[in-house]
Symmetry: C2
Subunit: 244 residues, 2 copies
């Protein structure tokens, strides 16, 4: 399926306009975005097909909205039957939506781990969700995130581990993909990329062997036309559509 | 399918606890609730099966959260391919989530009608969504809502019109169903009832020939157990499950 992409500067402006002109709250957008991430994961890696039927997930959450999408996705994954979920959220953001998302997850009995538990969690997890950074990331990748990413990529070499990137593989330039400004991720290819609202130019750098879904089903045809982006036909009530 | 119900007083307390202990914002809950209403409608009355393929919807929104669920549902219905949607929202609530929902709908090109357009809209609509009042309704039914309900029930006699009730058929007592305190709705039976979070006792008064779905997939098993309610198995990533 061919699709138009949306450049870095545009993606940021579009996001702002969703919350101004379009009237959405961050809570609404994040809920729908995270739901679509969880639905994409269910499609590609349903809870019953992973080794010994355990479907263990480690969700790596960064300090911004990308991390928030990951927190929402974790809750929906739990509701979808993924019973072993751990979250690593080393720099929690002290804003109501983020503290609320953490409370919700705690109430669902989902464990937040600290840095001393991270290696063990990587070793036990089949699905690693990269919700560290999105389209507003600026290099370089600072600690502790540079070492988290490096460790993640080391674990990806194991056959039973799959990485799911939320909107942008962390560290990739939105327009260019991996660049020299972020050497940690020079060879980073997620197994599944879930673009939100519209694919970014860097998604063209995704290897053809990898899966690519689009989620964030919340813009009107008029809005898409105004921004010159294609909204593919989502089937039925699905919150996601497969692009590759 | 058998299911437990949740009484009026409990429903109200549960709703409060979702936003306190559980950490949800009203924006999140309303988004997921409205999405599940739209998904239920799609299941029972998909956009291609109504006369002349038009699937016209009239969404009747009350001043409270039930009306907000209707506003969210209208947006998702538009995204699901229902192209003729009108909204009657005679007493809009001046709180950010509600004004935001109205802005979103306007940006989607969805028409808000006034009282002079209501009869025409009823006559042209196949699907009428009753999002007027939920579990916090106290009789009597006041103007203009008493006459809106009466007109709605008159139009329901026409074969091509179906009524979808959000959480509670408006005017029904949460525990008892239709009562003498609200004579307007003495014979009111929606064609489809979408209970949210948990069915209320009045749902037992729904005729067996009518459809009943459950939506609002956002509570954990622990939370459900604490409140003594059954959460049925939602299939896959579905936001709704059919009860009847």
């Amino acid at each position: 399926m061919s699709f138009k992409v949306i450049a870095a500067k545009q993606a940021s402006l579009l996001d702002q306009e969703l919350m101004s002109t379009m009237g959405f709250s961050i809570d609404q957008l994040m809920e729908l975005a995270g739901l679509s991430v969880a639905q994409s994961i269910y499609r590609v890696y349903p809870p019953t097909t992973t080794p010994s039927n355990k479907s263990s997930c480690l969700v790596l959450c960064g300090p911004g909205n990308n991390g928030g999408d990951g927190l929402v996705a974790a809750r929906h994954l739990k509701l979808f039957g993924y019973n072993n979920i751990q979250i690593y959220y080393p720099k929690p953001t002290n804003r109501p939506i983020f503290t609320g998302l953490v409370t919700q997850l705690q109430q669902f009995g989902i464990e937040f781990i600290d840095s001393t538990q991270l290696s063990k969690s990587f070793s036990q997890s089949n699905l690693i969700i990269d919700a560290l950074f999105g389209f507003s990331f600026k290099p370089p990748m600072r600690p502790p995130f540079n070492s988290i990413i490096s460790e993640m990529l080391k674990w990806q070499l194991e056959q039973d581990k799959k990485i799911i990137a939320v909107d942008i593989p962390s560290g990739w330039d939105v327009d260019l993909g991996p660049t020299d400004a972020c050497p940690e991720i020079a060879n980073y290819q997620p197994d599944l990329l879930v673009s939100l609202t519209a694919p970014k130019p860097c998604s063209l750098k995704l290897n053809k062997s990898k899966k690519h879904y689009l989620g964030g089903r919340f813009i009107s045809k008029q809005f898409a036309e105004k921004w010159g982006i294609d909204v593919p036909e989502y089937p039925g009530v699905d919150q996601v559509v497969q692009l590759q």
